[in-house]
Every structure is written in structure tokens, then in C-alpha cells.
């Protein structure tokens, strides 16, 4: 009788040790299956559909239970939606991220603009923002924040080349190495 009890206790303790301890339950946030589904997405990269579904489930569950969605989750989901072509919903989620987390403003403004601008080059836009920011800070600060349609249509006529040329200069330029 005693032996069985100690057996069970030892097995439970070891099971906890093996699986539970590095991940104490979060008091602040609702993580859902974020980590394991991100791992799964990298292990078997596909169209991200499954990962997107898990994120949506995590978000819906957290909102329903009134628990906080961790930083970056709305944006991750928005990013996957953008990739899948659902620009309108992607923009909504980027806005949600920005409202929930003011630290994300710069990036979310750029991503929202990408999602709203149908003629833009989505892949190079953060580069355009940086390319605009690096040589001339005043135009750089205006560009990402300019959301209205007229501004975005002028931006969409910007060819991709200057951004591509600006990016390498901004990042590889030996003069910019701080070390």
C-alpha cells in the first residue's frame, strides 16, 4: 500500500520535472498554444494556415475570458493574414496591436499602411520607411504616419529601387557600425 503511494508520488514528481517546471502558468497573459504552434510552423513550414488558426483561437479565447493577449500576438496574426491576402482584416489586427501596445506604434503604422495600400510593395515598405528615415529624419517621420489615401497613392508610385538601394547602404555601411 505504502509502496504504491510512494511509487505514484515519485512518478508524478518526475513527470512535473520533465514537463512542467520551465513553464509556470502565466498570471498576466493567455498564451494558448502559441509556442508549440510556432515551433510546429517552423518544423513543417507550409502556408501558415494552421499557425494562423491557432493564433485566432488564442486571441478569441483570451478576449472571451477577459485575459490579456500577450504582446505581438495580434501583430503575428495580422502578418499571417497579410501574407494570405486578407488585407482588410490584417489592418484591423495591426490596429488592435497598436491600441493595446503603444510600443508597437512605429511598426504597426507601417504595417497598417502596407495592408491598406493595394498598389504598394508590401515587402519593401519597412525598408522604405528606414530608407526615408535614414537620410532625412523629417520626411522619415512623416512617411510611416501618413495614412490618408492621397499620401499613400504618391507613395505607391515610389519605385522599389530606391528602397532596395537605400536599405543595403543603411545596414551594411561600415561608417554606420557603432562597434
Amino acid at each position: 500500500m505504502k509502496t504504491a503511494w510512494f511509487n505514484a508520488a515519485a512518478v508524478t514528481a518526475l513527470a512535473l520535472l520533465a514537463t512542467g517546471c520551465a513553464q509556470p502558468p502565466s498570471e498576466k497573459y493567455s498564451w494558448g498554444n502559441y509556442e508549440s504552434s510556432l515551433y510546429g510552423y517552423y518544423k513543417a513550414p507550409g502556408d501558415g494556415h494552421e499557425f494562423a488558426q491557432t493564433l485566432k483561437a488564442q486571441i478569441d479565447d483570451a478576449e472571451r475570458r477577459g485575459k490579456k493577449v500577450p504582446p505581438g500576438i495580434y501583430a503575428e496574426y495580422g502578418g499571417l493574414l497579410l501574407e494570405a491576402g486578407d488585407r482588410a482584416t490584417a489592418a484591423q489586427y495591426f490596429q488592435k496591436e497598436q491600441s493595446a501596445w503603444p510600443e508597437s506604434t512605429a511598426l504597426m503604422t507601417t504595417m497598417t499602411r502596407l495592408a491598406s495600400d493595394p498598389a504598394g510593395a508590401p515587402k519593401n515598405a519597412p525598408a522604405q520607411a528606414a530608407g526615408g528615415a535614414a537620410p532625412n529624419t523629417s520626411s522619415g517621420s512623416v512617411t510611416p504616419a501618413a495614412a490618408p489615401a492621397p499620401a499613400s497613392s504618391t507613395q505607391s508610385t515610389q519605385p522599389v529601387k530606391p528602397a532596395a538601394a537605400a536599405m543595403p547602404t543603411a545596414s551594411i555601411d561600415p561608417a554606420s557600425k557603432a562597434n
Binding site: 509502496t3 510512494f6 520551465a22 510556432l38 515551433y39 502578418g79 545596414s171
Partner: protein, 227 residues
């Protein structure tokens, strides 16, 4: 019979002690890092850039990325979405982690609007098979730099190893067989993720060397004695 009972009792006590020790994210540590630059800059947000891989496992950087956001978020910081960051950087020709690590942090700081940037290097991510024992090791190097000034705010280095443990059943031959099987199983499918999670938790949380509490943590600016 009595021997087995006392052995199990000892194992249970040891097991519980291990559980408690492993669950405690902050242990007492004599080392104490210099937090003056960190406290001056007081970053609210952290951007995690592509991870440099010095290990023999090509999948290590991606798998590792799935473990790093949570501990830093729980510590009270805004962490930029790692998958979106990875995509943006790849699309902008910044997928070469070595190149990113060698460049000016302020460029990325401006691009993403990040207060600080976390540069992580995987030095080891392997599983060594020794017939009766397999040792799985992860070794990680962390450096946090300011996104506005480029200076180093915090750094840490962690090595964690895991080897499956077996109880002695009293039968020497049976023990050897079990050990051999466990070693082979661990080698065939080493589980790096719990190790990586633990390394991150210790790195971020350890008193004296971990990250100070971030703006979303209730001990924000209240923990200057520990950090």
C-alpha cells in the same frame, strides 16, 4: 522489500526537491552584473533579431525562436512579434544573422521603433551519444543593445545539459538495458525545447544577472536591490 520502500521514499523526496528547485525561476546567485547602462536607458520594448547559429543543428535558430518571446514578455517587456520580424527582415535582405549582429543596432531601432535589440547566439545545440548515456546540451549567448545609442545594456551566457535519469531497479542487467534504450531514445529524438526554455528562464530571471523587471511587471523599478 524494506530497501525498496526506503529507496522510493528517498527518490520521492529528491524528486520533490528537484521539482521545487527547477520550478523556482530565481535562485540566489553571488554574481551581480552592472545595470547602470540598463537603468539609464530603461528600455520598454525588445526586438529579437535572427539568431546566429554556431551549433551543428541547422534547425536550431528557428526552433529556439519559439521559446524566447514568452520569458521576456513575462518579465514585463513589450516583445516584437518574432515571426513577423523574421519575415520583414528576410524580405528586406536581412536574413543573414551574422550580418545583422555586426551592424549598427540604431538602424534596426529606428526601423522597428524598438528601444532595445536582443542578439542571441546559439553556441551549442547537440546531443552526444555515449551508449549508456546521452547528454543533450544547449549553450546560448545573449546580448541586449540599445536601439537609440547602440551601447550594450545587458548580456548573459547559459549552458544547460540534460541526461535522462533512471532509477535502479535492483537488477543490474535490467538497469543497463533501460539505460541503453533511454540513451538511444534521447539521441534519436533529443528534446531541446524544454532545455532552451529553462536556459531562457534562468537567463532572464536569475537574481543578480537576469533582466530587471520591465514596465509591465509589478516590481518595475522596485527591484534595484536584486538587479
Amino acid at each position: 522489500m524494506k530497501n525498496i520502500v526506503s529507496l522510493l521514499r528517498a527518490a520521492c523526496v529528491a524528486g520533490v526537491a528537484c521539482v521545487l528547485a527547477a520550478c523556482a525561476p530565481m535562485k540566489h546567485n553571488t554574481a551581480h552584473a552592472d545595470y547602470s547602462a540598463f537603468r539609464t536607458q530603461a528600455p520598454h520594448s525588445i526586438l529579437i533579431v535572427p539568431v546566429v547559429n554556431r551549433s551543428v543543428d541547422v534547425d536550431a535558430p528557428d526552433y529556439f525562436l519559439s521559446t524566447i518571446s514568452r520569458p521576456i514578455v513575462e518579465r514585463g517587456y513589450y516583445v516584437f512579434p518574432v515571426n513577423l520580424t523574421r519575415k520583414i527582415m528576410a524580405d528586406d535582405g536581412l536574413s543573414d544573422a551574422d550580418m545583422v549582429h555586426n551592424n549598427d543596432p540604431t538602424v534596426l531601432g529606428k526601423m522597428f521603433g524598438a528601444d532595445s535589440i536582443m542578439y542571441i547566439t546559439i553556441d551549442r545545440w547537440d546531443s552526444k551519444y555515449l551508449v549508456l548515456k546521452t547528454v543533450t546540451t544547449v549553450e546560448l549567448d545573449y546580448v541586449l543593445k540599445s536601439g537609440t545609442t547602440g551601447e550594450t545594456l545587458w548580456k548573459d551566457h547559459r549552458t544547460l545539459a540534460y541526461s535522462p535519469q533512471n532509477h535502479s531497479s535492483g537488477n543490474a542487467i535490467a538497469d543497463l538495458v533501460v539505460a541503453a534504450v533511454q540513451a538511444a531514445v534521447e539521441k534519436a529524438k533529443p528534446d531541446y525545447i524544454p532545455l532552451a526554455r529553462q536556459a531562457n528562464a534562468v537567463s532572464v530571471g536569475l537574481i543578480g544577472t537576469g533582466l530587471p523587471a520591465g514596465p509591465y511587471d509589478k516590481r518595475y523599478k522596485d527591484d534595484t536591490a536584486d538587479y
